[in-house]
Symmetry: C2
Subunit: 173 residues, 2 copies
DNA sequence: CCGACACTAGACAGACCGGTCTGGTAATGT
DNA sequence: ACATTACCAGACCGGTCTGTCTAGTGTCGG
């Protein structure tokens, strides 16, 4: 098939892009399906054949965001020369994301605040948190911390708190 | 009128109690008006004559919660003997609230995550954050901190981060 | 007794929700 | 030439949302 070098973005990708934009900016509960498909220029049936339900679209949106953040973090951290700088560098990366235009807090904190206690969305937010935690543990261990698990927990508190402050106080922290 | 010593709770109070319970546990956006009035045992018209709109009910719910937290904090902090213990005591009080049954994170963080960017709800959540900030500044100053404003900002990051971790990780931090 | 008031019960309106379904179009592989 | 696939446009469904309105009840002070 003569797929161009730059293949036209598929409906699925456009849907994910629209979800990433609207869900993140206004909340997964506030934004309706109609807004998403209108923004993506996609038929409603296409959305439901691709994702099955709104909840699954939300999960896919969060997973995509998770993947992007992980890729950015890995790439940026690789530039640091020693383990200690790499550990502290997490907060450099975090601080830079606060400065991005349209920053609206941690997507996973926001989504979990909107979700019902038994929502399948919490599974994805939990995976993100587990990744952050594991990242801190690994970096703390590499940096020679006496108790990496404990330090990781403390760093995650700083990580979360900085995100909340950045969203609610609009300060750079 | 022979109001008993224990006056029967007014419709307004029952509505606020129901709002406090349902909004906090499940989110202000998820819980509908019908659930509130059913739980309060109150007619819908009474709610709208007392509060005017759902947004105003949400604001009243948050203001009530703010008042309660402020009262608890003031009372508990008064028990500490010196300024430094009083400053650190904020986190003792915070930690105790995490252990209360039905704890579901900071109501103001949650509500602001659900709100539209121009929602009148953000006004009330902002007032709460300003109070927390002012409390930390005052206590830091009394404790003789070199830069009370800066320290207060750092302590608020810990305050927020601990709340997020307590909700999302169900850990006592 | 009477008017004012606070309240209850519930129908109702109008908008919007997530989700399904039909019908049509264009490109594909065989 | 044909079937398949992927997609779009939009009507449609049942349900839920906030908010209004009507009608009736009980309780109070004067």
């Amino acid at each position: 098939m003569a797929t161009n070098v730059t293949e036209r973005t598929s409906a699925r990708e456009r849907l994910l892009a629209a979800a990433n934009q609207l869900f993140y900016a206004e909340g997964v509960h506030t934004v309706g399906i109609d807004r998403i498909i209108e923004h993506a220029g996609v038929a409603k049936a296409t959305l439901y054949s691709a994702f099955g339900s709104k909840d699954e679209l939300i999960r896919a949106y969060l997973r995509t965001r998770h993947d992007v953040r992980r890729a950015i973090m890995d790439k940026r951290l690789a530039a640091y020369g020693n383990p200690r700088d790499r550990l502290l560098g997490v907060f450099d990366v975090l601080g830079d994301t606060f400065l991005e235009p349209g920053f609206h807090g941690c997507a996973f904190v926001n989504a979990s605040a909107e979700a019902n206690p038994d929502s399948p969305i919490l599974e994805v937010t939990g995976e993100y948190r587990a990744w952050v935690r594991a990242l801190f543990v690994e970096l703390a261990r590499d940096a020679g911390a006496a108790e990496p698990e404990q330090l990781a927990g403390q760093l995650q508190v700083l990580y979360d708190g900085a995100g909340i402050a950045a969203r609610m106080d609009k300060a750079t922290g």
